[in-house]
């Protein structure tokens, strides 16, 4: 076991800023062209339809313009990135088979607590390939599929072909096109009719190779009346050059099902995190996104719900913490395309140390609908005078039988609150942390315990030295 490399100082302390030597066995050259896309497809032994899909997506990627809004992406150079790296070995069957180096990385980021509990449900991604994957036996007996998308193409070709790219087509935006061309790894989840998965399915993703873009692809299909909670958590080592993380997550919630998708994103602050996440919510189905964004250099991420069946419901809870360096441009979108649908978007952001937190959201009600309800609430806390906060909610309402409410507030920690807590014997930093904790509490409550603990720890870490 080699000793971890020392932490590189990039704009502040990053607790998870260590990495192990890059041991990838196959890596494409820098940059992107047809040859690289073909090589990725070849390496994965994909059927022709997927190869063609990737090539069409590459053409779309070249044509699509960069977004002219949102975070500053001028530091991103597509030609300097590696688009594919294959790690050590094939997918391991059990925890014992996971390479020791990778295991130790997991341990350092605090997985063990969750690991012990949910060992069987974990698929973790190291670089762009699943290295560890096992599924609890009773789950597979129930017909639940939890695997990487490469295996799903082989083992469940009909399901993949039927749903892949139907929620987020490659023409959707430049980064969805890029992901569609070079995707690698991710998760594929299928929950059969009426099956309720009572433990959360978890996948950890990590970037390890320098300047390496990670393009995981996740497809979740919840069949009629089923339930599943999927958890994605991220942490990455610190590197000097920019890395790009551009995932695509598609959820199909068939009638009467419920899907909850939780993310705690804590990329190190050299990572561009540009992610497209969208759920199609059918009749009487419910989709909940719980999205926490702490790290990264630039994040642009707006989990979306498209309510296409009567009685569908969508909930988006988003929290962003913008410290020194990161620009968090996050939010949520709800599109109502059927009668009797409802949505709630709750966004909380904290900016400090010169950070920029931006809420950007869309609420759209298509024409001629009745009984549509929506509520969008944004709260922002600015902790010092160097930081800023923006709110860009967009509401497009094309029907008259609707009830739409929106509120936003931007404030700082009040002197009175601080004074009160300090008069009770707390230091200023303890008092600030307590107030911040209270501010994000509604969100923390939605998380499984281990995540709540981890998120609290991360916020505490981010808050260190925020006053004084």
């Amino acid at each position: 076991m080699k000793a971890p490399l020392p932490v590189l100082e990039i704009g502040g302390d990053y607790q998870h800023g260590y990495h192990f030597p890059d041991e990838s066995v196959f890596r494409t050259r820098r940059g992107l062209d047809e040859g690289i896309v073909e090589a990725i497809s070849e390496r994965k032994g994909e059927p022709d339809w997927m190869r063609q899909y990737r090539l069409r997506a590459l053409a779309a990627f070249r044509k699509k313009a960069m977004p002219n809004w949102g975070a500053d992406l001028s530091g991103l150079n597509f030609d300097e990135l590696y688009y594919y790296a294959k790690p050590l070995e094939q997918r391991s069957r059990s925890w014992e088979d996971v390479p020791a180096a990778i295991k130790e990385t997991f341990e350092r980021i605090g997985i063990p607590e969750a690991e012990r509990k949910f060992l069987a449900g974990v698929g973790a991604q190291y670089d762009s390939e699943m290295v560890y994957h096992s599924i609890k036996e009773d789950l597979s007996k129930l017909g639940v599929v939890f695997t990487d998308p490469e295996s799903a193409i082989r083992e469940h070709p009909d399901l993949v072909r039927k749903y892949f790219g139907t929620v987020i087509p490659y023409l959707d935006n430049k980064f969805a096109a890029l992901n569609s061309a070079v995707w690698s790894g991710g998760s594929f989840v299928y929950v059969p009719k009426g099956v309720k998965v009572d433990i959360p399915l978890q996948a950890y993703f990590r970037i390890n190779a320098q300047s390496f873009g990670q393009f995981e692809r996740t497809l979740i299909i919840a069949d009629e009346g089923s339930f599943v909670h999927y958890i994605e958590g991220c942490t990455a080592p610190v590197y000097a050059t920019e890395s790009l993380h551009s995932a695509v997550v598609e959820i199909i919630a068939l009638p009467g099902s419920r899907v909850r998708y939780t993310t705690i994103q804590n990329w190190s602050n050299d990572v561009y995190n540009l992610v497209t996440k969208r759920a199609l919510v059918h009749r009487d189905a419910v989709v909940e996104w719980v999205d926490g964004n702490i790290g990264s250099r630039r994040t642009m991420k707006y989990p979306s719900v498209y309510l296409v069946g009567e009685g569908a419901r969508g909930e988006i809870l988003s929290i962003a913490f913008a410290g020194a360096g990161p620009e968090q441009d996050t939010g949520g979108k709800a599109v109502h395309a059927a009668n009797h649908t409802s949505s709630v978007i709750t966004a909380k952001s904290i900016s400090r140390g010169g950070g920029i937190a931006t809420y950007r959201g869309l609420l759209k009600v298509n024409e001629g609908l009745r009984d549509v309800r929506s509520r969008v609430v944004c709260d922002a806390l600015i902790l010092d005078d160097k930081s800023s906060s923006n709110t860009f909610p967009v509401m497009e309402v094309g029907s008259d039988r609707v009830s739409i409410e929106h509120e936003a507030r931007v404030s700082r920690i009040s002197e009175e609150q601080l004074f009160y807590l300090m008069s009770r014997g707390m230091s200023e930093s303890e008092a600030s942390f307590m107030i911040v904790s209270g501010f994000i509490d509604p969100l923390i409550k939605q998380l499984p315990m281990e995540y709540a603990v981890e998120l609290n720890r991360l916020i505490e870490l981010e808050m260190e030295g925020s006053v004084g």
Binding site: A380, F392, V397, E407
Partner: protein, 404 residues
Amino acid sequence: MSAATVEPGWMSELRREAAERFTQMPWPSTSVEEWRRTDVGSLDLLSYRSHPGLSASGGGATGGATGSAMGGVSETLAERGVTILPLSSALAAHEGELRSVLLDSWSLVADRIEAWQFAEWNSGYFVSIPQGVVIEQPIVLEVEGGGPGLLSAPRVVVMLGEGARATIIEHLGAGPEHAGLCNAALDIVLGPGADLGYFEAQELDARALYFRNSRIRLAADARLRHFAAQLGGRLVKTRVDCSLDGLGAEALLDGAYYCGRNQHMDLRTVQRHRARKGMSRANYKGAVDTGGTAVYQGLIDVGTGASGTDAYLASKSLILGDGARSDSLPTLQIGNNDVRCSHGSTTGRLSEEELFYLESRGFSAAAAKEMLVTGYFEELIGSTPADFGERAMERIRGRLAEAA
């Protein structure tokens, strides 16, 4: 009007520069956020010819209690140093003030429509109230909306000296003769502690196109209320941009709109906090009926130095029928932590219960609707000067009757 009016050189120079800028710029594209919902690319704006008879007139103005005829000021006001003149006639005599106001606004020009106004303005007023002068009676300005096929480009410049106080009512051409293209501008500069109420009623013909850029600057402790009633026009795109430049300034930007069949309204307010302890409120209420499209874009922009800012933005939209569309974009850009900024926005329809209640008391469906809609607007319009408010409310009732 007066043939003797020859434009001073600085103004001709500014017009030339504006014309050049106009030629270089494209029409605002829908890929720019502010113009995303209003597409002017397909309109043949250049087919509108500059209004021939306007070049020197202001339109019509009555100043103060005695209400003298166009362009004039009652003797009592004149004695107190109040100026109300057609803008073109004021250029020479008031060069000092006007030049700096217009150049400031010119430096902020954001798009081709606004540059066009500078190049082509052909009517409007200069209103100046000296330091310490308080005028109780509203000053009423009649502004030219532009006849069919014609371009009217009125520009109103209002300056209030330290501690001055006034109320101005602007009527923008009502009736079928105002069916052209109106590209209007308003510059307001308030000195320290000045207090202005500005009430604009836009009642253009249903065929008219209407653009307006209002640039407002407030010195320390100045107070402004800018109210806009947007009632007419086929396409309406306005921007009220208010900069709170001095310590403790206060601004209320409010308005009411009725957007019915074949109408497209895109209204924007900007509360720009540039100094400490400013207070601002934006409050827009609208009703959108079948076949109408309304967009409200509000921005609170707080600069890094503007600590102690207290800003609020509210928009309410009432949807009266199927096939109405209402977009609302209340945005915040906050670069300072010592602030209280918030916004609220609601979109909904008339309450079924209230309609049912009124109908059960013998009101017809149309009468019940009218009652509830006027009640909805009363909160805002009720606090405007009486004549102005009654006229706006009358107009809304008329529009509701047309729609029924």
